[in-house]
């Protein structure tokens, strides 16, 4: 991987984050603006690690109430039922439709958690420069970006159900606070994934090569 070392950053160059134009920075500390598209240039995203950490921690905090609080309340003739996501999974499983239960479990519980774990792993490895395959880490990052939006499915289902099932006084469905936290988890993890600069993975690799190689 000899070619790996020759990066724009190493070469003292900077590439525009928007139009990918390779430029010589105006100054090392402040690279200036792209002459083609006018975007502000940066060698790496500003405070990428710090931003990502903040968003990941916020998402992790929101993840707890998202799973503990009910996501919707069903009122049927005098009795009301509050359902959490995990409660729904259990219900689906006990009522026999385990494939559906699996889908909900993966999409709503494991994916957000997986994203949080993945981002935390990436952040730690980048900061600490721990050994490992940078390629695999990059693939992990791509996966996080890919599946991120699918977690919103739960929120959509919830809102649709609430909007459609309003058969007063027989039955009505009300949104519960859990869904807000769940949406917050999804949005925050997406933003965290966005704010993470994957080039840092390779910077870390370079640093490591320098150190040991």
């Amino acid at each position: 991987m000899t070619g790996a070392a020759r990066t724009a950053s190493r070469a003292g160059l900077v590439s525009c984050g928007i139009c990918e134009l390779l430029l010589r920075p105006a100054d090392k500390a402040a690279p200036g603006y792209c002459p083609r598209c006018g975007a502000e240039l940066a060698k790496r995203r500003h405070h990428s690690i710090q931003y990502t950490w903040a968003l990941v921690i916020a998402a992790a905090i929101c993840y707890i109430p998202a799973n503990l609080l009910p996501v919707m309340t069903t009122n049927t003739l005098g009795s009301s039922d509050s359902d959490t996501i995990l409660g729904g999974v259990v219900f689906l499983y006990t009522s026999g439709s385990w494939p559906l239960a699996l889908v909900v479990l993966i999409a709503s519980v494991m994916v957000p958690l997986g994203k949080l774990v993945a981002l935390t792993y990436l952040l730690i490895t980048v900061q600490r420069g721990l050994p490992g395959s940078s390629r695999d880490r990059t693939r992990l990052y791509r996966m996080v970006g890919l599946i991120g939006r699918w977690s919103m499915l739960d929120v959509f289902v919830d809102t649709f159900t609430v909007a459609l099932i309003q058969l007063q006084p027989l039955m009505s469905v009300q949104p519960a606070p859990g869904v807000v936290f769940f949406a917050a988890v999804v949005v925050l993890t997406m933003l965290a994934a966005e704010s993470f600069d994957p080039r840092l993975i390779w910077d870390a690799e370079t640093r490591r090569e320098k150190r040991y190689g």
Partner: protein, 555 residues
Amino acid sequence: MDEGNDRGNLPQAHVEPRKGLHISVVWIIPILAAVIAVGIAAQRIMSEGPTITIVFKSAGGVEAGKTVVKYKDVVIGQVKTVQLTADFSRVEVTVKVAKSAAGLIVEDAKFWVVEPRVSLGGISGLGTLLSGNYIGFEAGKSHKKQRRFIGLETPPMITTDQPGRQFALKAADLGSLGIGSPIYYHRLKAGEVIAYNLEDDGKSVMIKIFINEPYDKYVIPETRFWNASGLDVSVGASGMQVRTQSVVSLLAGGLAFDTPPFAPKTDPAPADAIFTLYSDQATAMKKPESIAAHYVLYFNESLRGLSVGAPVTLLGLPTGEVTEVGVDFDPKTLKIRGRVEIVSFAERMTARLGKDQTSAGKALMQSKDQRERLMRLLVEERGLRAQLKSGSLITGQLYVAFDYFPDAPKAKINWNSERVELPVMPSTVHDLEGKLTGIITKLDKLPYEEIGEDLRKSLASLDQMLKDADKALNHIDGELMPALKATLDKLHDAVSSADRVLKSTDATIVGKDAPVQQELHDALKEIAGAARSLRLLTDYLERHPEALIRGKGGE
């Protein structure tokens, strides 16, 4: 590669003084998230109500996580677990109570399982058919908190916040009453029976009732309660009476109450006051009679049809009633006779006095001596006697009537005996009955068959007789009449010849006082009389031809 050349061209880095740790604003996001999450958690913990345990004998339809506890139809808690007690005899239900209702969970709060109930008084808990059973709750009045309760088996009939008051009725028996039986006031539903239990002595029943507002203010210490259960058909000497309060009470039994008009106006009775339950309205609303005189009557006749409570009348107006019907046995003479004990209320008579006499009458009745004096006068001087009379020939109910019998044998009243005996008169009812019976017996004894036979024979002979008469008449027509005609013709001839003789002799016998003329005159008179008789005879025969055979019948 020629890295060395490249490196040579690059500027040398210089060490810059380390700037202060840069903290981005983005950290506001996790802090905000943490604050909100902690806030919600705190709110949750703060709003957490107490968890209580209710023990039921059986928990029909109670499900963990589903069944709720409702107070005034508002959910105040939810069942968390349903499990058996350690000795498996009961069901233990843990309920998470809402924080807002935590203040209601005091030691005298009541819990029961609400399920659909169908009773004669109505249907309750229909809502549970759709929503499932729930646990009903009634707040207590205590302030002492409690976390473990024993659930009621049946819902309490009234809730503590229901306006109204509770009373108790003492009755000999429960009748057709049940929990929920309605109580009427002027035929408006004013309350209901909420509980009943046998008294400790096992002789009477205590019925707990609840009278709703505003009817409870009409319950004063003088108020009377009576059983308005079902159809009350009473057959007494005064006829048949059918009473009912409502169709519901007809089916489910019921009570009614009212305050008699003579009762003094007082404040409403205190809650839990005990009243007597009367068997019917008439008994309940009866004016209490303070001046009661007890007498005993001995009858030497059947007392069948005389029942306790039968009226005692004076000149046809009710003045008292029969209190006991029995027999009297004389151990010396071994005579058994009917014994009727009566009570007479002087006030009933004074109440019927004219307005101007009421006060005088009352004054007279107030003194015992005066009353005794009056009674002695009436009985010993005027001949007031008791007599059994039939109130209704159909039912045969008897009553005791006091009337004047001036011709009755003299009697004395012994005021010193324990029970004052009043003289009686044999009943005309029985006389009449006896006579009627005698007549009927005689009628019964008549030989109807023989009479019929005789009658038939008589009719046959009569028929024969009439036939004979017919024959005789024909005979008269055919044989006697021509002969009669000839006789008459001959008579006519005789008269004519006599006339001629007279005419011829007229000339010779002129003197008015001539004996011949006189004799002739007499003879003629005789003949005229004979002719008249003959005419009468023929007339009569024409009308009554049978006279020829049977003679002239007396008219």
